[in-house]
Structures are given as structure tokens and as C-alpha cells.
Symmetry: C2
Subunit: 160 residues, 2 copies
DNA sequence: ATTTTTGCAAACCTTTTGCATGGAA
DNA sequence: TTCCATGCAAAAGGTTTGCAAAAAT
């Protein structure tokens, strides 16, 4: 994918567009699905792109702050990131099998939240909604395998 | 609060009810709002209850596995736990100011998820939904303070 | 010029693990 | 008596930080 939008977001936020940040943007743009800071460190090493580990962490923080990526927590508790469009409000569905994510928009979620505010008296300032499942591709694969060997697939962990 | 339900859940799950686990149950039951493993370690030390750090981590894992507590991730990325009724499906609203949590039930969330499955083709196996906001008590406090000094309160971070 | 950013390495924090001992069922 | 659970201390991760040098505006 093209890293330019990430760099534009950085520039638009008044942050400096530096060499290392370009590198991180390229790495982020080339991920497909979610990725951890460690993934980027490893891939930078593999591609012989020299960026300090601290810079990767700091850049990911900055990107999350400006909305170019979102920090998510996998059911395992690992911290991961996903690339996303900065603008509108959305959530991610994460495939437990291949890690690919897909954005879904807020939809009627807002109504549900409004009702919860009414019921509890809390003012809800922010929320974190992460959905885990199996994407169509992996599902098809799993089905095929099931037919052959009776493999039942896997269920992800947390269901809060 | 009363730690007995926690111990009963442990027993009902075929785990052993041991001294250290009783201690952890008491600590958990006395938390109000969310708490981290470190909180329990600190409080155990303060109350001069001798439990190994590893045991606290292991017991929290076990409690989460049997549904006596739920592991959540705060907007800051910290791992925390909240006490909860094991049985039915629910979510937590966490007060960003005082940390108190309140359970809300699934409600129409299930419908929303079903629609998302339809739209994306993903099969959703599990989800993690955490809501952050301000509870009625803190909200009142914040308002009072605002009137006096123009304090604007705080917004939590992540809004996925 | 000025201010931000980087890289490195060390520091920090949280969580896990090996293993011998102790305790529940 | 037989496993399961504990404690300790060490190890393992993951993330942050201080600081001098380098780069961006």
C-alpha cells in the first residue's frame, strides 16, 4: 500500500516528516492486518532498514495520537496496531485466523451507547470495541478442511 | 464486599480452595472499580497478607478463566481486572475519573453484531467492548468544580 | 538558529517460569 | 497419597528514558 497518506497526516499535524518516520510509514503501510511494534522492528531488520527500536515505538505512539493507526488489544492481551483512515468513527473486525482486519462503521452502535448512557447515568466519553472472528476467506478454508478431516476450527478467547 | 462467591466459583470449577486463594479473593472483593495485579500486590503488602506475586498473577488468571473477574484493557493500555458476576453476558462501563465500573447487559448489542456479520461476511466469535466515561457521582463533582474554577474535566483517550 | 527527532543503551515494569516444598482433596 | 498449588528468584518480554548527536523547519 501507499505510505503517503500516513506522511501527510504527520505533516498536517505539525510533526516533522523525517527519514525514520518515512521508513516506519512504509513498514506500516506494508502490513496487512494487525501488527505489533515487535513486528515492525523485525521487518525493519529483515529489510535492512535502519531505524532504532525506540523510534518505532515513538512513531507508533505519534501515529496513534494523530489517528493514522489505532492501537488495539488482542484477546491474548498483546498490544497491536492497525492502519486506519483517520477521519470517521469506525471499529475493526479482526480475523483470529489470519489477522486481517476490516473496518466497519459505527452504524447503530451509537444508538446502543446512547441507551446505555440513559440506563446507567454514565456519560460515555470513549469506547473501545473490538470484534474477533473469522474472515470469509479463512472461513471457507476452515470449512474445506472440516469436510476432509473433521477439524472444528477455533474460537477466540475473550467475550466481554 | 463478600469474597465467598468468588471462592464458591473456584470450588465449583474443580479448583482447590487454598489459603492464598482465599487471600486473593478477599483482596479482589475489597477493590472497588478496576484494579491491576500490581494493585493487589501492593495491597497485600500493605495489609501484611503474605502471598507470592506469582500466586496473585496465577490466581487472577484462574479467576478470569472461570469468569469471576474479567480482564479489561484501559485506554492507557494497562491490563486491569474487574470483579463480575460469572453468569450472563455483559459489558462494563468504566469511570475514567474514579475507576468504578458498572455492568450493563448485552441488550441490543447482539443485533448490531449480527448486522456487522452480515455486512462484512466475517463470523464473529468473540468481542471485547469497553466503555469509558464519567459516572454520575464524578460528573456531579466535575460540574461543581467547573462552576467554581472553569475546570473542564478530562476526556479519555481511545475511541475505536 | 531553533526546536524536534534519533539512536543507543540502560533502566523499568509487568508477567512468566523452573523447581523443590507444602497443602488440598 | 496423589496431584495441585505455592513461593522464590531468575528470566523473559515489552516499553520507556536520558542524553548527546543529527536533522528538520
Amino acid at each position: 500500500v501507499d505510505p503517503s497518506p500516513i506522511l501527510e497526516t504527520i505533516a498536517a499535524s505539525g510533526l516533522r516528516v523525517t527519514g525514520p518516520r518515512r521508513t516506519v510509514a512504509v513498514l506500516v503501510a506494508s502490513q496487512d492486518g494487525h501488527f505489533t511494534a515487535a513486528d515492525l522492528v523485525a521487518e525493519a531488520a529483515a529489510r535492512r532498514l535502519r531505524v532504532g527500536r525506540a523510534t518505532i515505538f515513538r512513531t507508533l505512539d505519534a501515529l496513534a495520537a494523530v489517528g493514522a493507526v489505532e492501537r488495539i488489544d488482542l484477546p491474548s492481551g498483546e498490544h497491536a496496531y492497525v492502519l486506519c483512515r483517520p477521519d470517521d468513527h469506525h471499529h475493526h473486525v479482526v480475523c483470529a485466523s489470519c489477522g486481517r482486519t476490516r473496518e466497519v462503521d459505527d452504524g447503530r452502535m451509537a444508538d446502543v451507547l446512547a441507551e446505555i448512557e440513559r440506563l446507567t447515568g454514565y456519560r460515555i466519553d470513549s469506547h473501545r470495541i473490538e470484534l474477533y472472528g473469522t474472515c470469509p476467506v479463512c472461513r471457507r478454508r476452515a470449512t474445506r478442511r472440516t469436510r476432509r478431516v473433521g477439524h472444528t476450527g477455533q474460537a477466540a478467547g475473550t467475550a466481554s
